[in-house]
């Protein structure tokens, strides 16, 4: 357990997960210990895996509520109950391409393993990382070291450009001639990023976050309206069918609703 600015970084020995990990995967963690009243697992993107001790997994998180507070309290060698790797990872380009990685707040954490994988495939990598304030911009140093360019933004202007990652995106895309964008962060950010990419007509892969009760496809609580290959919008599980989707397929404006034209939307049948 380490502190990294506003974040906690937690390294867990988990060879089974480290082995099968691909960038974009997440894990779920049981929180609260025995007899806890907090029932649901918490989802975290895998920040990094290392070969130490047979395979370790690193998570980066902010304390939000009870579960993350408990997690931040763990001491070395405390056992932890993880399930993973989960979800559909980021698809990688077949041929070398220029890839722009956009991360907001802790969303940035998921992008570094992706950057490694892309560089191994001889892709050019650029970063745009943003947050509310400088201490919440995750991985700025590492991004600067490894990428062609790294543009930083903060809402309060305490680091880099004042504003959001979306504000600087058109400029960065133009400068880098990005072929594809990968984005991680809150829905509103992903929505903005997707809109910019549509303007530039370049593909964008987004990793979405929706409340998850199970993380493994059982419960149907994590659905997002996503347009399928057949053009039909379905309430699609973020945990097993995502969390990575093609940005233009996600109906960001309709998140939190059932779009009237979604498959099975209310109208005919009315059972609960």
């Amino acid at each position: 357990m380490r502190r990294v600015d506003a974040y906690h970084a937690l390294t867990v020995v988990a060879p089974g997960i480290a082995d099968r990990f691909r960038p974009g995967h997440f894990v779920t963690v049981a929180v609260g210990g025995p007899r806890t009243s907090t029932l649901t697992r918490r989802a975290f993107a895998v920040h990094d895996v290392k070969p130490d001790y047979g395979g370790t997994v690193e998570l980066v998180f902010t304390v939000r509520g009870a579960g993350t507070a408990w997690l931040a309290d763990r001491r070395a060698r405390d056992p932890l109950d993880l399930i993973g790797p989960l979800g559909r990872p980021f698809p990688l380009p077949r041929d070398p391409a220029t890839c722009l990685l956009v991360g907001s707040e802790y969303g940035a954490a998921a992008l570094f393993a992706l950057a490694d994988a892309l560089q191994q495939r001889n892709c050019r990598v650029d970063f745009v990382l943003g947050a509310a304030s400088s201490d919440r911009v995750f991985g700025a140093l590492r991004a600067r070291r490894m990428a062609e360019t790294a543009t930083l933004t903060t809402r309060d202007g305490s680091l880099g450009v004042r504003g959001s990652v979306v504000d600087v995106l058109p400029g960065v895309i133009a400068d880098t001639h990005a072929d594809v964008v990968y984005a991680c962060g809150p829905m509103s950010t992903l929505s903005g990023v997707t809109a910019v990419c549509a303007e530039f007509d370049i593909p964008v892969q987004v990793s979405v976050e929706e409340l998850m009760a199970c993380g493994i496809g059982l419960c149907m609580t994590c659905t997002v309206p996503v347009i399928g290959d057949d053009g039909v919008t379905r309430m699609t599980r973020a945990c097993v069918d995502g969390p990575v989707f093609r940005g233009e397929r996600v109906r960001f404006d309709d998140v939190g609703t059932i779009p009237f034209d979604a498959h099975g939307a209310p109208g005919g049948d009315r059972a609960r």
């Binding site: 409340l211 659905t223 009315r270």
Partner: protein, 315 residues
């Protein structure tokens, strides 16, 4: 540790609860679904349903609120793609059905009754009755009895019909009796009582749907009570107990109250291996207590009490 739902034998008494095991495929990486007593499907409806908007879940103390809204692809896709996967593997499948009217329930029963791989039909009575201003069937003995009897009539005579009840009713025994009179061979309880949470930061209901169904250990005392009361009133009717089971001890609690089978629901979200674990733990606890057969423990807590009981529990 065999058990029986009416005349249907199950190799063991641990089932999955409706809506908590996906289509079976999602559970497969964690559990051999053919080794469960049975898998209960999520509630299948006639037409496809998109369900409720998100947020669909909220955590409460030892509980979970959900408002999924029976999202599913409809009975045709279920029969074409989901049931065959289970049937090919030889899993026993209890198909949960839901509708907004008696006619819809019986149409579903007709569609499903001859499909290969259907072990029993579970009638989800917690569906709003469109003909009664959305009041759920489970809250009204006559509506519940009517639905069950329509399903019983539509289904093949040898396919057991299970009625699933909800605890937040004035008198669960009255509903149970109406269902048995309507032809239910077994009862499943409990479905989620209705609950609600408010997000005090957004100052809004935590669920988009407002209210939702409460599940998890928080409701176990309500489940034990329903199973107890119904077993006392209808000792001959098999009961599938569920509601907050997380361990063999919890399962045994429901068995002692009168359940001859126990379903795991919410616990699977936390521990997808829970089905087999709970079974193993239950077997051990029964063995420790000298039971050779599950049936000998079913409802045992009802036997008249002796004054010495308390002393026995002292160190």
């Amino acid at each position: 540790m065999r058990t029986y739902l009416a005349h249907v034998e199950l190799p063991n008494p641990i089932l999955t609860a409706s809506g908590c095991a996906g289509t079976g495929r999602e559970l497969a990486p964690f559990a051999d679904v053919t080794r469960l007593g049975a898998l209960t499907t999520r509630t299948i409806t006639m037409a496809p349903r998109a369900g409720r908007p998100t947020p669909r879940m909220a955590e409460t103390p030892s509980g979970l609120l959900n408002a999924v809204g029976l999202q599913g692809p409809g009975v045709d896709v279920f029969l074409a793609r989901e049931l065959p996967w289970l049937a090919e593997r030889g899993a026993r499948t209890v198909v949960s059905i839901g509708g907004g009217s008696v006619a819809e329930f019986s149409a579903l029963a007709r569609r499903l009754t001859d499909a290969p791989g259907v072990t029993a039909l579970e009638v989800n009575l917690s569906c709003p009755n469109v003909e009664d201003r959305g009041r759920v069937f489970a809250r009204d003995p006559s509506a519940a009895g009517e639905v069950v009897s329509a399903v019983r009539t539509a289904a093949r005579y040898d396919l057991p019909v299970i009625a699933k009840l909800q605890p937040d009713v004035a008198d669960v025994v009255a509903i149970a009796k109406a269902c048995v009179d309507g032809g239910a061979e077994a009862l499943s309880m409990i479905n989620n009582p209705v609950g609600m949470a408010i997000d005090v930061d957004r100052m809004r209901p935590a669920l988009a749907a407002g209210t939702g169904g409460l599940s998890g250990p928080a409701i176990r005392p309500l489940a034990v009570k329903c199973v107890w009361q119904v077993h006392a009133a209808l000792p001959g009717t098999p009961v599938i107990g569920m509601g907050g089971v997380t361990s063999g001890r919890d399962a045994l609690e429901l068995v002692l109250a009168g359940a001859c089978a126990v379903a795991v629901g919410t616990v699977l979200f936390h521990d997808p291996y829970a089905g087999h674990r709970v079974l193993r733990e239950l077997e051990e606890l029964l063995q420790e207590r000298g039971f050779d057969r599950l049936a000998d423990a079913v409802g045992l807590a009802h036997r008249p009490s002796h004054r010495t009981d308390r002393e026995e529990s002292l160190p």
